[in-house]
């Protein structure tokens, strides 16, 4: 059997196992507001253990708002968010961050006046720097560019390197769920490929659950087991990655301009 064949098998088994267990992250009928503007309108999303789930949608659809709402900024005004069976809807942001979920947020938000190492130390802050050396080693294997720049200030690195650092920083807390917000934004196609390959590896090899928000719908849906489409604050479609890729509506709305 080919490697690809095994991978498909692994993925299917994982999907079947996941369907039986309660979802790792569950967003139920969540609405969030910026002032009086309703940015999320009753969103339902599930992310099962071991899955890669993509959320695609146009600029301003509310994708990043959902990512931040899961972390309590802003808090959901209606609905519930559960992670690993725990209701996290009303928890303060820093307490959510201590629960085995980590985010590489929109715009990367690297600490630009800290070195790469210090940024990674910040990522490991929730577990008090236990197994820091081991995790640092892992990140340097995953993204060798970070090893080369370990004592360089974050702000002086290229966009692609900053994105790698943002992901590595999120991984330093050893999360069960990694949330990625627009990791491909503004990056060269080759770098995007590297980053997506790294995410796929983490999922296949370590069983890491990934929730990814992307405007780059083609790449995201290719990567994901399942996907959701968001339009002006509501989820309008969902399905397996491939099903969404083949959907004529998705094609027309998000895959125009082809497969970069």
């Amino acid at each position: 059997m080919s490697v690809a064949g095994i991978n498909v098998l692994v993925d299917e088994t994982r999907a079947r196992m996941a369907a039986a267990a309660p979802p790792l992250l569950s967003v139920r009928n969540v609405s969030a507001y910026y002032g009086s503007i309703r940015a999320l309108k009753g969103v339902d999303i599930d992310v099962n253990e071991g899955e890669i789930v993509a959320l695609i949608g146009a600029n301003g659809a509310g994708k990043s708002t959902l990512m931040m709402t899961i972390f309590g900024q802003p808090q959901a005004r209606e609905g519930t968010i559960t992670f690993a069976g725990q209701d996290i809807t009303r928890l303060p942001t820093h307490e959510i961050a201590r629960l085995n979920l980590a985010q590489s947020p929109e715009g990367r938000r690297i600490f630009s006046r800290m070195t790469v190492r210090e940024n990674l130390q910040m990522g490991a802050a929730v577990n008090g720097g236990k197994h820091f050396a081991e995790d640092l080693e892992r990140m340097c294997t995953l993204f060798p560019r970070l090893a080369e720049r370990i004592d360089q200030r974050g702000g002086t690195m290229s966009g692609g390197e900053q994105q790698m650092l943002a992901i590595a920083r999120a991984l330093m807390s050893r999360p069960r769920l990694l949330m990625l917000d627009e990791p491909s934004l503004g990056l060269a196609p080759l770098v995007v490929k590297q980053i997506f390959a790294a995410v796929r590896d983490l999922n296949r090899r370590d069983g890491l659950t990934v929730f990814i928000v992307e405007q780059n719908a083609y790449h995201a849906l290719k990567l994901a087991h399942r996907g959701y489409v968001m339009v002006t604050g509501s989820v309008t479609m969902s399905g397996t990655g491939q099903a969404l890729l083949d959907d004529p509506q998705v094609k027309a709305a998000y895959l125009e301009g082809g497969q970069h």
Binding site: R109, G155, R169
Partner: protein, 305 residues
């Protein structure tokens, strides 16, 4: 030459006190980008706390060991002043976080006025003296006309400032708490996303800033032997000048700025006119703000976006 040397020592001492107060300004500014204008009055308040406990220990309880008294007063003054720092942040600043930039500044000025008036009411408007505890001096140089001395008090002040600068530099640059502080300074929301309790980090920064002010307040009281309710203002503003001169947000910059201000003020008083010493100090602030707004060791703004 001997006169110059003596003035240099005096200037370094004064500068060390300014530097210690400036450390508190610069640390709070460094983390929340706010000038805590009440810091000078927290310093004054801590001098009073120190004075009260000195008198309790020496007059009432009759303790005679200077070192022991000094230590107890130091610890008590730091604790109580830290409590004030915590309360001030809680009451006057936290609610205003996230509102427009001028709001906490105005609130800080309010706290400053409150503190000096509070002390005036409860302690009276007159200068409060402290009987001198330490008179020993080290004679560094002596000839027929002139003696250059370094008093124990002066040596103590310089050593304390150097030690606290080193300690706080280490704290900010090398410890997890310092990293969390710097993370909050750069991007509070991201710090929270990484599990940092931003409110607690800021609270602790105010507590540390107040504890630093308490050390400065105690040393000031020992050095001058007198304190009044209005003593927060001028040293406070000069320390602020020092922080700006050194580059606000930089800990070594704060002490460097303090030393420069202290030296200029002392030499100005010694060689020109004592009446114009404050004019000289504030002239520096104006010149620095015009020609080098980021200060001597201010952070170089080279960032890629």
């Amino acid at each position: 030459m001997e006169f110059f040397a003596q003035q240099f020592i005096n200037g370094l001492t004064l500068g060390s006190i300014y530097g210690l107060i400036a450390l508190g300004y610069t640390m709070v500014f460094g983390i929340i980008g706010m000038v805590n204008f009440a810091h000078g009055d927290v310093f004054m308040l801590s001098s009073f706390i120190a004075l009260i406990f000195f008198l309790i220990l020496t007059s009432w309880l009759g303790l005679t060991s200077v070192a022991l008294v000094f230590l107890i007063v130091l610890v008590v003054a730091m604790l109580l002043t830290a409590l004030w720092g915590w309360a001030i942040e809680r009451v006057a600043y936290r609610a205003l976080r996230g509102s427009f930039r001028l709001a906490p500044l105005i609130s800080a000025i309010g706290v400053s006025i409150f503190l000096s008036n509070f002390v005036q009411v409860v302690q009276g408007a007159r200068n409060k003296p402290l009987p001198p505890l330490v008179r020993d001096v080290i004679v560094l140089y002596q000839n027929e006309q002139y003696t250059v001395t370094l008093s124990y008090k002066q040596a103590n002040i310089m050593a304390t400032t150097a030690a606290l600068l080193a300690g706080f530099w280490y704290l900010v640059q090398r410890t997890p708490f310092g990293r969390a502080q710097r993370a909050c300074e750069q991007d509070r929301r991201m710090a929270a996303l990484l599990g940092i309790n931003v409110d607690r980090t800021i609270s602790l920064t105010f507590v540390l800033g107040a504890a630093l002010a308490a050390v400065a307040g105690l040393l000031y009281l020992l050095y001058y032997g007198v304190v009044s309710f209005s003593d927060g203002f001028v040293p406070g503003v000069k320390a602020f000048t020092a922080a700006v001169l050194g580059g606000i947000g930089s800990l070594p910059g704060a002490v460097l700025g303090g030393l420069i201000i202290g030296l200029i003020e002392t030499f100005w008083s010694a060689y020109f006119s004592i009446e114009y010493k404050d004019v000289a100090a504030f002239l520096i602030l104006i010149v620095v703000l015009i020609f080098k707004p980021s200060g001597i060791l201010g952070r170089p703004e080279v960032e890629k976006v």
